[in-house]
Structure formats: C-alpha cells, structure tokens
Symmetry: C3
Subunit: 427 residues, 3 copies
C-alpha cells in the first residue's frame, strides 16, 4: 500500500518537474524571464481497522509560479496558483469488511489557465472538484470542441490515445457520448459494456486488481459502477486518469458539468439566474449536483417543485442557505415557470417506489411540463431535462425553441471532449 | 411536430442549394454552360387521431438540370433528373395508441449519376426505394469498393466519419459486415449490441427520443429493430441518414440489394434470368424482397419450390403477375435446378412451427441442395443462400465453384461500403 | 473438402512465391547474389468415418535460402531454413458425430530471422508450435513493441488492417489486451463479445460457416471458444490467420508465451532457471503449458507445490522426465520459494470442486504467497500469477518489486502486439 502511495507521489512530482521543464523550454531563449518552481508537499497516513486495509491520503500540492514572457510571446501573468486536493480515501479489503467513507476532493483556485499548462486534475471523480474559475475555463475548451466537432472532419488531437470504457452497469447513452467524444478527437476506444460479468470480476477479482490490469492497456479509463465510491477507489489505484461516469447513488460529475454548461450556453450567464428544479428531487443525483454547483455562483435563486414524497432533502437546502443561495419550495409549477430562466424537469423514478405503484402514479402525473407551462415561460427561458424522459415533458413541447434538452444531451459530447483533451493533453 | 417537419424541409432545401452550388462551381469557369436550378415543392399535412400524433408527409422533389461542360472536363449530358419520394408516414405517439401504417417510399428515376452529385436517398429503409437505374449505379460503386477493399490497405474515404450501430436485437453477422464496411473506408464506429437493454429504452424512452440523442454523437445510424416500421420512424426523426439493418418482420433492404448484386456479379445479367426460390417462402423476408426487386427487370422467370406449409404467399404472386413476371410453383427441385440460373435456397425457420416439430422436420428435409442437385445444374448457374444454413445445403456442395453463398456474404460488405459512401459523400 | 485443402496448398505456394519475389527484388540489383528457392511438398489424405468428415493434413514446407548481400545492405547470412508443420486435423461433421482428435503441430527450426521475411506460422493455435529459436525471435519483436508502446503515440504499423475478436465465452481481460495490441499498432478492431449468442450460431450454424463469413470482413481472427480444438478447426477453415485466445480446457498459447517472456524479462535468462509452480496444478492450463515450454530450455528445475486434490498430472511429469527436466514435488512452499527464481502462483478454481466446498476451502488456504514467503525469497526472484487472483497472494505483497504479476499482464500486450505484427506483416 505504502509503495502505491509512494508511486502516486512520484507521479505528482514528475508532473511538476515536467511542468517546470515546459516553462524552462519556453522561457529560456528569452532574456529577463523569471520563473519560480512549483513546490509540492504530501502527507500520508495509514491505518488498518476491522480487518480492512484503509488508506487515508491527504495530498496538498501548492505550486507558485510566476514568470514574465517577452513580447515575442503573448504576455500572460501567471498568478499564484494554489491547487489543493484533500481526500480521505479508504481502501476496502478483499473481504469487503472495510467501511467506505469519502470526503470531498476540493479544488480551490484562482487561476489564469495557459495553453499548454498541465490540467489541474488528474482524475474527474466528483462535481465538488470544480470551482467557478476552472469551470469557466473548461467551458471555454468545450466551446472550442463545438467548433472542432462542427467544422473539421477528423480532428487528430488525441490521435494515438486509447480510452477504455469500463462499465459495470449498462448506460449506453453515457458510453456512446464518451466514445463519440474520444473518436471525434481522433482517439481510439476499448469497450467493456458488461464489466460486471468481466470473467475476472465474476471470479472474485477486486476492482483494484482489475484497474491495475486495464491501465496497462489504455491511456485513460472511463468507469461506470454500481457502487458509490468505486470511481475514487479506481482513481487511487490507477496511474492513468480516471473519469467517473456515474458510481451508484454517488456522483456523475460530467452530467453536472454539462448541465451548468448548458445553462451558460442557453441563458448566457450563471450569476443571477433563477432555476426551477422539478420532479424527483429526493433521488435524482443530477438535481442534487446541479444545486451544489449553482451555489458557486452569485445571486442565484432556486425553486423546488416536487410531489411531497420526493421532496428535496434537508442537506442540500442547508448547504444552499450556508452559501447564501436563496431558495423556496412551491407547489405551483406555472407560477415558478413564469419567473425562472431554467425549468429543470426530472423523471420520477419508478424503481424508488417499490410496491407502492399508487404513490408512483400520483407523483408521476403531478408536475408535467406541457404547452400550458411553456406559454407562461419567458421568451429567453429554457426547459432542461437530463433524459430519458417519459411523459413529464409532453412531446408537443419538443418543437419549441425553448426545449433545450436535446441540445443539453449534445453538450455532454462537448464537455466530455473537453475533459478528455484536458486530462490527456492539458490546457 | 410542425417544427420538426419544417426542419426536414429546410434540410432538403439546403441540399438543393448546395447541389446547385456544386454545379455553379463546376460550370462557372467554363463559357457556354447552362444549368437549370433544382426546384422543390413540398406539401405537408398533419392530423391527429385517437390520441396519437400522426404526420402525413408527401415530399416531391423535382430537379431538372442540364448543362454542357467544356472539353476540359469529361463530357456528360445530365439528363432530366426526376426524383420523387412520396411517403405516408405516421408518427406513433408516446402512448403507442396510434396505428402505424406505411406506404412504400418509391423512387422513380431515369438518371445519369455524376461523380460528386448528392445521393438521391437520405435514408435506406426499404428495397422498394430503388429502381433499376439507381440499383445499377449503386452496383457500379460496389464494384469500386471491391477494388478498394482488395487493393488498398486503409482507404481514407470516410476518414473522420462516425457510424453508430444501434441494434435492438442481436445480428452479429450484419453488424460486423456494416462495421467492417465503415472501417475499410477509414470511418469509425460506435457499437450498441444490446440497444434493447439500453438503460433509457428499458426505462421507457421512445425510439424517437433515443434517435434524437444518438444522432448528436454520430454521422449515420445503422439500426436493427424487432418492430416493423421502426426504421422508418427513426429516419423520420433523424437529421442524419438512417440505414435499416432489418426491422422485425419488415424489411432488410441491404440484404435484398446484395442478393441482386450477387446475381449480376455471378450470372452477368439480370434481364432474362431464371431464379428458383427454394425453402421457406412464406416467412423468409429475403425471398420476398428478392422477388420484389426481380420484378424490376425484363423477362425474368421465377420458380417457387417449397413444402406445402411454407408456400409463397399470394401477395407476391399477384405482384409478379401485375408486373408481367412469369412464375410457377413446382415440387421437383431437380427439374427446376436444371433450368435455373440461380437456385436460391433458404433455411426452414424452426421458430415458425411452434410445438409442431413433426411438421418442421418434414418440411426441413424435403428440399435439400446436394451433389445430386448440383449435377443437374448448368455450368454457369449458381447456388445462393442468405445464411446461416443448417443442412438444406450439404457441405459437399461448398467446394463447387457454383456454390456462391460465401461470395454472396462477402458482397454484403461491398454493398454496405457503397451505401455508406453514397449516403455520406454522394456519388 | 478436397477443394478447401487445395486452396490451402495454393495459399502456401503463393506465400513461397511472394517470398522468393521479395528475395529477388532485394537481391537482383546486387551482383553476386545467390538465392535458392523455397520448396514445398504437401501430402494430403482424407477419409470419412462414423458419419464424420475427417481431413488429415500433413504439411511439410522446406525452404532453403542462401544469399549474399552487398555492403550497401546489412550483411546477413540466411541459414538453411527448415519449417515443418505436421498436423493431424479432423473436421467434425455438422452432425457433430465425429470424434475430434488432435496431434500437436510442431515447428522444428534453427533459423536466423530476417526483417521482411514471412513469419513461419500462419496461425497461432498451440504453445507446442514454438521452439526456442522462434520464441527468442518473437521475444525480440516483443521488446521492440515495448519501445513502440512507450515512446511513440500512434504507431501506424498495422494501419488499414482489421482484426475480429470472436469470443464464444467472455474474457474481457484477454479481449482488451488483444484489442489494445491491435490499436497500439494503428490497426482496427471488430468486436464480438457474445459470439455464442451470435444469432447464426444460435440458429445452428457450424463454426466453419461462421468463420467463412467472418473472414470476409477482416484480416485476422482472434478466437476464444468453450470447446477444445475449436481454434484448430477455425484455422483449418480460414484463409486468414487465426489466433487461439483460449479454447475450453485446451490451449491458450499467448498466455504461455507471455509467461516465458516475463521470466526472461525478469530473470534475464531461461536456461538454468528454477521455477516453483504453486496452487491448482491439475486444472490450470497455464501451468501445464508453462511446464511444456520450459522443457525446451536447458538445466531447468521445476518444483510442484499443490494441495493433494489438485496435484500435477502424470503426463506432464513424464514429459518433463523424457526431456531431461528435473522436477520434484514439495509440501513446503517456503523451502521451495527460497530456492526458486520464479514462484508461479495460481488460483484454486472453485468451479472444479462442485458441491465439495469443504475441499475447496481446505485447498484454497493451504499455499498462500505472503510477506513471510517473500522474506525467504532471493533478491532477484519474482512472484508471478496469471491473474485474476483472490487471496492466494496477499495484497501486502503487491508493493514489493519482486511482485511481477501486473508487469506480467502488461507483457501480454507486447507479446500480442508482436504476434499480430508477425502474422500480418512478417519479421
């Protein structure tokens, strides 16, 4: 275990050195250049309990860099960069006795991102990893990706790179979106649709062993898992980047990013927007992640519209309050729709109701976005939905320019192209 | 709905304009060139009934073009082009209450096809879309594809293009054939083998919604579906080309094309040929489609040889008669084989007999193509089979040069390469 | 059948002619060059018994080549080449009544392998096909592949080549490894994860028919099958190369090769090594193949350490004795570990114990490689494992530099890259 952790440290150090080297190469031919080297400090602790191997890792990486470039290059002033990733990771043992507890990885930054710089993140595991500066920079790359996808046949940006989609539960939509993103950039894909039946997994191999094998065949892993925390465990193990494409009831960070990206693309801003979250707010991880990310912006107002049985949980409400985000609950969809910039509808998930199909039917029919709702909405407002939809948005809404949900699905492609580019090539 | 239809119209118009533009570009530097612009008229009507959203679309696109080219170019006389596609399409509603009725899309043309021209079809849905002129032109492209596949490693014709295989029921043979076709031309593929378990479809998403999402990730969709009419619904929804790779009891147009192509390649002609259709004529969609396409040629004679329980149905017989195609039924396979250019054997499908395995066994053993049948066949004649075969052709026939069924399977590759090239790049 | 065999002969002859042609082209511009043409003699016999079609094929291909090259080229002296492949192949009939008996294909060679020469093998079916000269030459190519994989993004060596993975039982690890190998060399892949549900196979199509169809779509077939001898049958049918990726209880030759390659890479030699085979020696095909290949080297010592119920079988012991390889059985893992260069641990396969889970549990816990075992091992020694592992190697061993099993898995990539390159392009 210790050795693995050491390897991680060595990897991070290698980054910093190669990074410094890039600066040196850039700046050396030019007189008057100054640059200050990145520094890294890492602290590790480890303990074992209840027959499980637990690894607590707290990584702090601080890099201060400042340099001037001659007029020959564009002048950029690289501000003090602070990248802090702290994670509390526990490795469950083979015997699965170890409890898995996760604290958020947080990135607090105030960057200017330079072309050619290393991307700040090694893996994409949680929506919480992103602050508004890095989001804004990623969105800029996503817009470049729109141009690439629309204009040029066969970008070769990721030519020679290989991505493995390791899906422990089926999610064809997400998988195709990632695979399309990779191929649109000239990269190649290894597909595993049924990793759960992965002969090795079926025989009892740990996720860690699978990852150590698969990372030998590819440059980046996109993983979908039925178990919360699995993506983080994979990222801890792998020496190559891991993207979480959904892990059980946990996170689905690329969905959260594409939602925020879509709002910015459709409304033109994120500060000061009014968002109505409608439908299954108790179980939908997308609305929870979205609420979380919206809290990073100023003067945001959130409305919750949901049947009683699937109301937004207290933790998110408290979180919003703590961040100074105004929110209110309402039972009047039309009233909310008339005020909002974004009506974010979600599917009532039948699987959450078990035997109580009466409750399901009642909840399902309660808040439908139809022409009547559309009629009260503002001209510039949009309807969003993470898809798939059943009848919570009627098909006659599809033709309205304010129906943004298929554009939203397409934006998933651009966000994933951007993340693949950033993780493999940097800014 | 209206908006979607409008988008379709806009798309068609864009084609025509870009097409005119191509003519302009070609002809403008040359004095004396005349060209007449393509015209388009489209009529749409829409009605709703029984809670379903129905869309009747009748498209008529007439384009007359004539121009002279200077000696500097090859001299081609572009004849009056007439492309008429009329379709009667009904969109089933989400509630699936709408009856789905389909009339054939028919293309009646008398073309000279010029390199660089737009392909006449946006989608490949039914064998009925093709007349003999367009078939003949497609076969020419298929022969070019043979050359490409045999001579050059790594054609880059479709470099940068992405094809999605959306298979709602497994058909590895067809899928591999399409994927090979795409990759032989330098294109890339997104694979979905189990679209039926597509998490979204399982959750109740409509085919239309799935298509609207998937079309964002790819340039062309190849779809296999368990439901008749599904391909047409997909084509109506998608703004990118859709190829029907078989929809339930309905159509499998690329199989029909490769069958006709194989006859032309093996016998050297289509007019005046004698074809014996053998085996399960009641249920085999390949023999039905083949009979339909053969009716487009002159002086064709068709023999039906089948066990009583799986006789050719009346509709095809009537159709052949109406088109002036001679046909007869026979119980003597050898006698028919001695007269025919093509003996087209098919598998008796066990799944059609349910509990009556006695009837199945009787039917199955009745007409076997073996060495004895081969011995009475003419030197130039061939045995064809859509595959897979069980024992309706004995393995000792395989070695005979007249056993064309594996060449026929290979021809599927060339036909699919040709269609992908035509739909994505044009003539 | 005869015809098929004839086609095979014609193919081999074509090789030899193209081979001679390569020599001619190389040598013709240079005076004084001498070259002797390859000769081929093939004998075939065929008989049918018990309703089965049996084909005995004995191929002998002898090629003697000698030439001098001018100083302009590197000077190589091509020694007398002898390639003899004798195989006793039986084709099972469609009715599956034919017994399948296989004798080894053996290659006895004493080569110098020249860049650009044709690879000696058309297919990779069994570990027994390889002698130590050819193994050594393949390992050299594998090391080149390591360089290619590590240094250059996007090798284009196999650009334009297409590989089909035809997997009749799932083995994601092996499949991904082959697909990665192909893509790392710029080749493309057609994937079939569930060939068993291949609609055609499900309908009763023979393996031979499937192969004849699939070979039309691709340049090389990698096949995994649940039936022993299936790979050989496929190779007999196909005109393109077939690689056996495991056929039932039979062979898994690329695993055997990567094991030997790993020993050479880790220990630096193969002659004179001491190897401890631990765990399930009765059922593990990897240890059986490894023992077989080790017998090709000098002064090898093999130790068998296994629970009583899964002891190494007599046939391998007798084989080793006949080849002069020393071996002994031991119940003391530590004692063996202290003496060995390689401790090759294997998983006790639960599926072999049926209802007797008590026996399984007893066998499983008996010989565990843990820190204590590691402590008595020599500095230069390594622990290997074909993976997946359960707890027969404890996770605290992973961090030790002598834990070679993940490097071993990675070596599978290089061996497969080498084989694909050799089968498709030659030396």
């Amino acid at each position: 275990m210790k050795l693995l952790v050491c390897l991680k440290v060595i990897r991070y150090c290698k980054w910093i050195w190669s990074w410094s080297f890039i600066f040196l190469r850039r700046t050396s031919p030019i007189a008057g250049d100054i640059y200050s080297l990145a520094m890294s400090s890492s602290m590790f602790s480890m303990r074992a309990s209840h027959g499980a191997t637990l690894a607590h890792e707290q990584r702090t990486m601080i890099s201060d860099s400042m340099y001037n470039k001659s007029d020959f290059f564009n002048k950029h002033l690289l501000r003090f960069k602070t990248y802090r990733a702290s994670s509390n990771l526990e490795h469950s043992s083979v015997s699965q006795k170890g409890r898995i507890q996760c604290r958020a990885i947080e990135v607090e930054s105030n960057h200017t991102f330079l072309k050619g710089d290393k991307f700040q993140l090694h893996d994409v595991i949680e929506a919480q990893q992103f602050d508004r500066d890095i989001l804004s920079a990623i969105f800029e790359v996503a817009r470049e990706m729109e141009t690439i996808e629309k204009k040029s046949r066969g970008s070769q940006l990721l030519n020679g790179y290989l991505m493995a989609t390791l899906f422990y539960e089926p999610s064809t939509r997400t998988r195709l979106s990632f695979e399309s993103a990779m191929k649109r950039l000239g990269g190649e894909v290894l597909t595993t649709e049924n990793a759960r039946e992965f002969s090795s997994a079926a025989k009892g191999e740990t996720l860690e062993d699978t990852i150590r094998t698969v990372e030998g065949y590819t440059d980046i892993i996109v993983m979908r898992h039925f178990e919360g925390g699995a993506a983080r465990r994979a990222a801890m193990t792998a020496n190559i980047p891991v993207i979480n494409a959904g892990d059980g009831p946990g996170q689905h960070p690329t969905q959260a990013l594409l939602d925020v990206y879509t709002i910015e693309r459709e409304i033109g801003k994120l500060d000061g927007i009014k968002v109505g979250l409608v439908g299954d707010l108790a179980n939908g991880r997308t609305v929870r992640s979205l609420a979380y990310l919206l809290a990073k912006y100023n003067d945001v107002k959130v409305y919750f519209v949901s049947p009683e049985v699937v109301k937004m949980k207290e933790d998110i409400k408290e979180y919003l309050t703590s961040k100074g985000v105004e929110w209110e609950e309402s039972a009047d969809l039309k009233e909310v729709a008339s005020r909002c910039d974004v009506v974010y509808q979600t599917r009532i998930q039948r699987e959450r109701f078990g035997e109580r199909s009466d409750l399901y039917d009642e909840a399902r029919g309660k808040y439908i976005v139809d022409r009547e709702v559309l009629d009260v909405m503002q001209k510039h407002a949009v309807v969003m939905h993470p898809l798939p939809r059943l009848d919570e948005i009627t098909v006659d809404v599809d033709g309205d320019p304010r129906a943004a949900y298929f554009r939203q699905a397409k934006n998933g492609l651009y966000i994933r192209m951007a993340l693949l580019k950033l993780l493999l090539l940097g800014w």
